[in-house]
C-alpha cells in the first residue's frame, strides 16, 4: 500500500492543472537560484579565479563552455527519458517536456561549439579541427535539429510528440556508438597534430566557480524549461475553465 502511495506524485503529473500550480510554486525559487549561482560563478570565474599557467586568461571561457557542454548532453538524455515516459505511460506532460526541451538543448550545443571555437583559436591556433569531441558535439547538434524538424513537420500534436519520442530513444542508443566510432576514426586518421592540452588537476579556486556555474546552468535550464512548459500547457488547455480563470486573473492583475 505504501508503495502505491509513493507513486501518487507521478500520476498527479498527468494532470496539467496540478503541474501548472506546483511549477508556479517552484519557479521563483529556481529562477532566483539560477540568477544567484550564475552571477556568483561568472564574477568569481572571470575576475577572481587565478589565470592558467599555460593559457593565461583565455582559459576563462571554460566557465561558459563546460557547463553548456554538460547541459547539451544531459538534455538529450532527458529527451529520451521523457520520450520513454510519454510512450509507455502516455503522459502528455512528458510530450510537452520533450518538445520544449529540444530547442534549449540545441542552443546549449551551439553555445558549446561556438565557445569551443573561440577557445580553440588562442589554444590550438585554429577555430575548428576535426577532433573527436568537437565532431561528436556537431553530430549531437544535428540530432537535435532532427528532433526539432520532425516535431514541426507533423501537424498532429500527439503524433508529433510520439514520433519525436521514438527518434530521441533511437538517438540515445546511438550516441555511445557514434561517440566511440568517432573517437576511433580520429585516432586512425589523424595523428596528433594538435594534442588537446592535458588538463592539469585544477586548483580549488578554479574548479569551485566551475561547479557553481554548472549548477547555475542546470537551475537556469530547469527554470526556462518550466516556463516554456507552463506556456505550452496554457496553450494546449486554452479551452478549459481553469486556464480561462488563470488568464483572466493575470490580465486583471496587470491592469
Amino acid at each position: 500500500m505504501s508503495n502505491l502511495m509513493n507513486w501518487t506524485w507521478f500520476h498527479k503529473l498527468g494532470s496539467p492543472k496540478w503541474f501548472y500550480e506546483i511549477s508556479g510554486r517552484w519557479l521563483p525559487g529556481l529562477a532566483i537560484a539560477a540568477a544567484l549561482l550564475l552571477l556568483v560563478g561568472t564574477v568569481w570565474g572571470l575576475a577572481f579565479a587565478p589565470p592558467d599557467y599555460q593559457q593565461g586568461n583565455s582559459f576563462r571561457i571554460i566557465y561558459i563552455h563546460v557547463p553548456a557542454a554538460f547541459l547539451a548532453q544531459s538534455i538529450y538524455v532527458m529527451l529520451a527519458v521523457a520520450g520513454v515516459v510519454g510512450l509507455v505511460w502516455k503522459m502528455k506532460l512528458a510530450d510537452v517536456a520533450l518538445q520544449q526541451a529540444a530547442p534549449v538543448g540545441a542552443w546549449m550545443t551551439a553555445i558549446a561549439l561556438i565557445t569551443g571555437a573561440i577557445w580553440g583559436k588562442p589554444t590550438w591556433g585554429t577555430y575548428w579541427i576535426w577532433d573527436a569531441r568537437l565532431t561528436s558535439m556537431l553530430i549531437l547538434l544535428f540530432l537535435y535539429f532532427g528532433v526539432i524538424a520532425l516535431g514541426q513537420a507533423i501537424s498532429n500534436r500527439d503524433s508529433a510528440a510520439k514520433a519525436c519520442a521514438v527518434l530521441a530513444v533511437v538517438g540515445v542508443i546511438n550516441i555511445p556508438i557514434i561517440k566511440y566510432s568517432v573517437q576511433w576514426w580520429n585516432t586512425l586518421h589523424q595523428p596528433a597534430t594538435f594534442s588537446v592540452i592535458e588538463k592539469p588537476a585544477m586548483p580549488v579556486q578554479m574548479w569551485l566557480p566551475l561547479l557553481i556555474m554548472v549548477l547555475g546552468f542546470y537551475c537556469f535550464f530547469a527554470a526556462v524549461l518550466l516556463m516554456r512548459m507552463r506556456l505550452e500547457v496554457l496553450r494546449r488547455e486554452a479551452r478549459s475553465s481553469w486556464v480561462k480563470n488563470e488568464i483572466r486573473g493575470l490580465v486583471e492583475g496587470k491592469r
Binding site: 510512450l87 553530430i139 544535428f142 540530432l143 535539429f145 532532427g146 524538424a149 520532425l150 513537420a153 507533423i154 498532429n156 503524433s159 510520439k162 514520433a163 521514438v166 527518434l167 530513444v169 533511437v170 538517438g171 542508443i173 546511438n174 556508438i177 557514434i178 566510432s181 568517432v182 576511433w184 576514426w185 586512425l188 586518421h189
Partner: protein, 223 residues
Amino acid sequence: MNSLFMLLVVREARLLCRRPAELANPLVFFAIVIALFPLAVGPQTQLLQSLSPGLVWVAALLAVLLSLDGLFRSDFEDGSLEQWLLSSHPLPVLVLAKVMAHWLFSGLALVLLSPLLALMLGLPGRCLPVLLASLLLGTPILSLLGAIGAALTVGLKRGGLLLALLILPLYIPVLILGSGALQASLQGLPVAGHLLWLASLAALTITLTPFAIAAGLKISVSE
C-alpha cells in the same frame, strides 16, 4: 510464422520487379555521384585512389537513403499498412520482411555495382573483397536504420529531405567503419576489426530496429 515471412518477401519482390525503373534509379544515382567526384576534385589518379574508400561509401550511403524514401509510401497509400497493424501477426516481423525484400533488390544491387565504380576510381583489385564484405555488412544496417526514418515520415507530403536530416547522423558509425575498413585494406593494414564491428552493428540493428520501425509505423498510421 516463417511461411508468412517468406510470403511477404516474395510479395515485395514481385512488386519491386514490376517497377524496374524504381529499382534502377538508386543505382544510376550511385554511378552519377561517383562520376561527379573526379569532375570536382580533378582527374589525378593518385588523389582519386586515396579518396576512393570515402567516395564509394558516401555515394552508397546516399543511394540507400534515396531508395528508402518511398519504402512504405505505396503501402501507406493503398491501406496495406493498416491491414498489417490490424493483423494478428507481430508487426516487427512484418516490417523486417519488408525491409529485407527491399535490401535484397536495392542494397544487393548496389553492392554488386560497387566494384566496377571503385575500379574506375582507381581502387586496386586486391581491395575488392574488403569492399564487398564491408558493403554487404553495412548496407543492411543502412536500410534498417533508414526504415525507422521512413516509417516516421511516411505520412508527410515532403518527407524526403526530412528523412535525410533524421537519419544521416545515425549513419555516421557505419560510414566510419565501412570506409575505415577500405582505407585500411588500401594501406595494407588488417581489416578484421572494422569488419567485426560492422557485423556486430548489423546484428544489433537486425534485432532492435524492427521494433522502432513498427512503433514509427503505428504513429504514422494512427495520425
